[in-house]
């Protein structure tokens, strides 16, 4: 029985400003969903709210995994239940080695009851595994010894996100513009990497502006978000159409949401 991530009437505010105004979505393990929308529509807000960022206050609705409500959970508890966010802007943690960081993460995810100071996954086993994943992603194994994202190029950071996803094997992965700011080679690596990793065990939500990621990972569902609401749902053809023609017709079909979106964009520009 595959797992289900269910988002029901989700309302999220940032610094007391409502951003998401009732988002509904269901993602099953094994499915690929695309989330598309213009600037200010709430795409990244949904990503952060799913991951449990404390600045993204859930003011209504719920997030459930297999019927269990995770709305109130801390980010680390959600991660241990199988939630993963590939960051648009991965964070640098100086002085903390990639291998050390991922080894702690893997230990916690595979042994969700682990407390700090308790045993980590065996070194030999871990090394073998991370080396294999890095080779698959075309990464220099030396990266394991470097400090997390410290001095990494944009492409290296995004690859590091995919590596973490490969190691943590989440049930649900949200990719927040993982392909943005990359040259075409890096986009290809990330796209192929994701294609290799996604499968019956992973439900994926791809937030993207690019075709490439979706070409390699064709979505079964495309959700269009505008003004903090999902206004349309379609298949891969809808994603293709939006890439080709933009959001003008969507705005026409949903004038109220479009007005909300315009306000949010204006506020963000101030």
């Amino acid at each position: 029985m595959s797992s289900l991530l269910k988002i029901t009437d989700l309302h999220v505010s940032v610094a007391d400003t409502p951003i998401l105004k009732g988002v509904n979505m269901e993602i099953r393990q094994g499915e690929i969903h695309a989330l598309m929308g213009p600037n200010g529509s709430g795409k990244s807000t949904l990503a952060y709210a799913l991951a449990g960022h404390p600045n993204y206050a859930i003011t209504g609705g719920s997030i459930e995994i297999d019927g269990g409500n995770i709305t109130e959970m801390e980010a680390d508890e959600r991660a241990r239940l199988g939630m993963f966010l590939a960051f648009q802007y991965p964070v640098v943690i100086p002085g903390v080695k990639v291998a050390d960081f991922i080894r702690h993460a893997v230990s916690n995810i595979r042994n969700p009851d682990r407390k700090e100071g308790e045993g980590l996954i065996g070194m030999r086993e871990f090394r073998k595994e991370i080396k294999a994943r890095m080779e698959e992603l075309g990464m220099d194994v030396e990266f394991a010894r470097r400090y997390l994202n410290d001095g990494f190029s944009g492409g290296e950071k995004k690859r590091m996100e995919i590596l973490q996803m490969a190691m943590l094997q989440p049930k649900f992965a949200v990719l927040d513009e993982t392909d943005s700011g990359l040259d075409s080679d890096a986009v290809r690596v990330v796209s192929e990497g994701l294609a290799k990793l996604s499968g019956p065990e992973m439900g994926v939500l791809i937030i993207t502006h690019h075709e490439r990621l979706l070409e390699f990972n064709p979505p079964q569902y495309t959700h269009v978000i505008l003004g903090g609401r999902i206004v349309e749902i379609g298949d891969a053809a809808l994603a293709h159409d939006l890439h080709a023609n933009g959001y003008a017709t969507v705005r026409e079909r949903h004038p109220e949401a479009a007005a909300d979106n315009a306000k949010a964009e204006e506020a963000a520009a101030v």
């Binding site: 610094a15 991951a51 449990g52 960022h53 404390p54 600045n55 206050a57 801390e74 980010a75 680390d76 959600r78 991660a79 241990r80 993963f84 966010l85 960051f87 991965p90 964070v91 640098v92 943690i93 100086p94 002085g95 903390v96 080695k97 291998a99 050390d100 960081f101 991922i102 080894r103 702690h104 993460a105 916690n108 995810i109 969700p112 700090e116 100071g117 980590l120 070194m123 400090y147 973490q164 943590l168």
Partner: protein
């Protein structure tokens, strides 16, 4: 870590054992003056709001030892008259300096108002050395070791392979007495002077046990040496002295640590470290200060480096109630180099203060200082750094940086770098940051299943890692990492 960008977090998080919050009492980021050729006179003023100056006129009875105490102390000593005469001269200087104000630049942030010297006496009792714990003693093979307990040298040994080369290592007083001609010109004459201030004079009058290392020209002492200074009895005043002389083309490593056997005993250490590095010589010196939190620690520490010599000096501050270290690095000879590393972890109500000076006196000299401080609870750290470049010291490269990480809003950190440059063809860079743990780093780690507390600990360790990476001695890096974990409350943590 202390940038102004990034989101601020509003949500209340559950209280942690290691509490922190995201208000900060003080934040500054003095940017680098890197790369540029500088001709700066007078010294640059750091961009910070000055404290109202604290009074540094201190009641003499409360900070000093009387003439009676001095005579009583002398009566317990068995030593040659030249040493006693030097003590008397220092004591006279001490009495004189007690009447003078301490340098406000150095001491105005160091609160000595509750310091009461009358509570402490040089120890005359038998000490209890049975329960001394050390961080470094059993970590590696040493070429020799020495132990001072409550101001008395209780143990010393050194391998014959080392002494066979003419190396002297052991109790300072004994070796000074036996080798007056060789050592007198160095002892309290070149690196630290008794008349520097009342603490150096106090030390010069009352110095008790000490560690001496003398390495003759061209001798390479490849095994490190170990020195331990311990307090066991309540109310002990110790005046330990460390004198290291590494002659031209010689090489040595000394690891020194301080410890208290009883967490509740009060103590006073008025210490002195003198490091003399000859031409083309290399000295690596580590002092790991790990007193209990009822110990006062005052020290004058100075290193003199001759032409082409190199000094790698690591200062670790973990313990003490209040500590103030005056650290001077003097680059006396052409192309002398010094690397200074500082690791400080203050907790509870500890106050840890450094006054560091990198003094470039000759052409082509290089100094590089990196201090890292972590503060938790209600602790306070003060770092006042200065790079001084004499007119003769052209083509100097001086660097100093202090980074502080504050884990609680009740901590306070003052980091004040400074430059005083009289040459016109130099490269001097300085900087200081103080900030709190970046919430985005915590969230990133949490999103990978790492708990908030574990993430905090990783970030703190990572913060120190940047200075560990500069410490060339593996056992010191490992010991520091373990000790910091202990202070963070991590029982065991495997590091890749």
């Amino acid at each position: 870590m202390c940038g102004t960008g990034g989101r601020r977090f509003n949500s209340a998080r559950p209280a942690l054992n290691l509490s922190f919050s995201f208000k900060t009492t003080f934040e500054q980021n003095i940017d680098q003056l890197g790369g540029a050729t500088l001709h700066v006179l007078p010294p640059t003023t750091p961009t910070r709001i000055e404290d109202p100056p604290m009074t540094v006129t201190i009641d003499i009875d409360r900070i000093g030892f009387s003439a009676e105490i001095f005579e009583e102390f002398l009566s317990t000593r068995t030593e040659p008259s030249w040493i006693t005469d030097a003590r008397r001269a220092a004591f006279a200087k001490y009495e004189e300096l007690l009447g003078e104000e301490l340098n406000p630049e150095e001491f105005k942030r160091v609160d000595l108002r509750i310091f009461n010297a009358a509570k402490f006496r040089p120890s005359t009792d038998e000490s209890d050395a049975s329960s001394i714990s050390t961080l470094l003693a059993s970590e590696t093979e040493y070429g020799g070791s020495i132990r001072h307990v409550d101001g008395t040298t209780t143990h010393e040994n050194v391998s014959e392979d080392i002494t066979g080369n003419g190396v002297l290592f052991g109790d300072l007083q004994t070796l000074l007495t036996e080798n007056r001609e060789l050592l007198e010109p160095y002892f309290l004459k070149q690196a630290v002077r008794p008349d520097a201030d009342r603490f150096s004079a106090w030390h010069a009058a009352f110095w008790t046990s000490g560690t001496l290392l003398y390495v003759p020209q061209g001798v390479d002492v490849d095994l490190p040496l170990h020195s331990l200074i311990a307090h066991t009895s309540d109310g002990v005043a110790d005046f330990g002295h460390t004198l290291i002389i590494v002659e031209d083309e010689a090489k040595a490593t000394l690891l020194e640590e301080t410890t208290s056997t009883n967490e509740d005993h009060s103590g006073l250490h008025v210490g002195c470290v003198e490091l003399i590095v000859g031409k083309y010589a290399n000295l690596r010196y580590v002092q790991l200060q790990n007193w209990n939190q009822k110990t006062w620690h005052f020290a004058h520490q100075a290193g003199n480096v001759a032409s082409q010599g190199s000094l790698q000096w690591t200062v670790v501050g973990l313990g003490s109630k209040l500590s103030h270290i005056h650290q001077d690095v003097n680059l006396n000879g052409r192309a002398a180099t010094a690397e200074v590393n500082g690791v400080t972890f203050a907790s509870d109500r500890q106050k840890i203060s450094y006054y560091t000076q990198q003094h470039h006196k000759a052409q082509g000299t290089h100094s590089d200082l990196l201090y890292k401080e972590v503060l938790r609870d209600e602790s306070r750290v003060i770092w006042r750094g200065m790079i001084k470049v004499d007119a003769a010291a052209q083509q100097t490269d001086g660097y100093q940086r202090s980074d502080a990480l504050m884990l609680s809003s009740d901590t306070r950190c003052d980091s004040i770098p400074g430059l005083e440059i009289e040459a016109d063809d130099v490269r001097c860079t300085h900087g200081a940051t103080t900030g709190r743990v970046d919430e985005e780093q915590i969230f990133y780690a949490e999103s990978r299943g790492i708990s908030e507390k574990e993430a905090m600990h990783m970030i703190v360790e990572g913060f120190f890692q940047q200075v560990y990476d500069r410490i060339p001695i593996e056992i010191v890096r490992e010991t520091l990492s373990r000790t910091v974990q202990g202070k963070l409350g991590i029982e065991s943590m495997t590091v890749v």
